[in-house]
Point group: C2
Chain length 362, copies 2
Amino acid sequence: MRITDLDTPSVIIDLDVMERNIDRMHAHLREHGINIRPHIKNHKIPAIAHLQMRKGASGITCQKLGEAEVMVNAGITDVLIAYNIVGDLKLDRLSRLAHQAKISVIADSEYIVNGLAKMATRTGVKLDVFVEYDIAAQRSGARTVEQAVDLARLIERTPGLAYKGLLSFRGYSPDPEYVRRTGDQYERVVSALKRDGIETSVISSGGTVEAWTAWPDICPWGVTECRPGLYTFYDRVKVAAGVATLEDCALKIVTTVVSRPTETMAVFDAGEKTLTEARYRFGGEEGCGLLVEYPNAIVTGLFEEHGIVDTSRCASQPRVGERVTIIPNYSSLVIDLADEVYGVRDELVETVWPVAARGKVK
Amino acid sequence: MRITDLDTPSVIIDLDVMERNIDRMHAHLREHGINIRPHIKNHKIPAIAHLQMRKGASGITCQKLGEAEVMVNAGITDVLIAYNIVGDLKLDRLSRLAHQAKISVIADSEYIVNGLAKMATRTGVKLDVFVEYDIAAQRSGARTVEQAVDLARLIERTPGLAYKGLLSFRGYSPDPEYVRRTGDQYERVVSALKRDGIETSVISSGGTVEAWTAWPDICPWGVTECRPGLYTFYDRVKVAAGVATLEDCALKIVTTVVSRPTETMAVFDAGEKTLTEARYRFGGEEGCGLLVEYPNAIVTGLFEEHGIVDTSRCASQPRVGERVTIIPNYSSLVIDLADEVYGVRDELVETVWPVAARGKVK
């Protein structure tokens, strides 16, 4: 089967590009002596997680318990769930999962630790727990040295739980000065705990941008593990961030031009329900995606199922019935809309992957 | 099972509110003598489509062929696919579908008509075809009287195809003057065709906002059918458009507060992968959704799985572990991320509906 045999819109993954992306990132992290624990949110596909493991990952990272369940069912044996787990329903699921694989979790408040502790005591599970420390003041995570030290101490003295280390995520567009200051705070947490005889065995850092840019300039505080996610596929946001080129974008959407309402306007058959609305991340004029065959075109808007293109800057004009390929703004959201994706090499479809962890938000 | 027994995040549908929404819209359209052909994009659930049929709809509207396949498989027998169908793969699927149910389609170019004609001749299918006419200069559709008349004539003289009428969609924030002018053009198309002995038996108008506001002020040209979609669930965008109140919003997301990083900030367990990014439709300060229990809070941002709330204007503050209910900005996109939704009445879960047409973008 060739790419041209696929109905549209279809999400395709260039396997050569994806494999090169994985090789490069893993080589880079190894070179810095950093352990690799990829975040599977970018692909949600067990086969790719297994490929990452074969290429040197020590385990994977999931955001939601539901993603972790899919991955453990598919044979991944070491999973960090980098998300506060709240409520008896989820704690029950976590205990079942922890009987099947090595699961570590995070906490940023006493409430979270107490929930984990209650479950661990009741079910005999032993859990490694990270203290999440927010280095960019953007979302969850402890915000002061005292909070982090207190939490680590609480975890360490709680039966069934073991303090594993500190975990951070730099977020989108953080203030570099704030991030620098947080580095000192990390060192203070680690030192204070060491004086108590509590060892911080892992300092886990998140994000593809961080993985490429953070050492040694921004994060001099001794990161030992990294959880990049977007490096598998990349996208226009990561190109704009300067950590990839368009040639590194492994995920694309094959679409068909279904209308040419005017001389300089085309409509293709993918809208928000395929590409997502990932526009605001990117500013207005760059548009909602890039047309590979018409790089001067601008995807000016998306309806639910229509993509609107201004082709006035294009030398030639697309015809109705013609296929056009889109590089999306944000690949992790595109994956989460697709039931399946097609792994391609050159022009051939080599594999069909169900997006097994799609929609697993619980 | 009670709502409080559901794991989070879960999409819930208030059945009383939804049924009232359907009753009101259908009564309104009947009062104006307008045929009702609901667009199922808002719910993608066969049981709701059947409810709409029982409540007076003459058939349904789908955007994509894949949605139509789901609905026909579920027993809906009259479907308008309001989308240009392009390519042999889709034309084959269309012919199979047209053997199982009454299917009508649209066209806005000779290319589309020729594809339909080839398929109809080859497979013996007979299709009603609408000419799409863009009344708001926003996406696909003929843009001049001559184009529309020529297309209708072409359809009418093509074996296997019958010209059914004109179909429009007003789009988002159209220029009211442009829409008014288009009304005259509709009349000119209908008259010109009548002189040829070609009857325009249906004039089909789209959209919930249009359904509530368009007659007789903006569309005086004799609409006979309407295809509202969002009226089933509504959402904040439709409240802002003035056609619903917050009490009419039938779809909500039950979430849990998982972190309280500061005194005036909360994080709940739904992000872009549950709520979608539907922010740009709405301007910045209104945020990415409304917290029912904390109406003065602002959902200032979404990460993939985190919702960030500024609670500084709230009299009381949510606790970690507390459940909060979100009214989303754009309900049709939320549905397309959910595997299943829970129909609730008062506090009880009455039904669990798989979102059967979720992701059917082909």
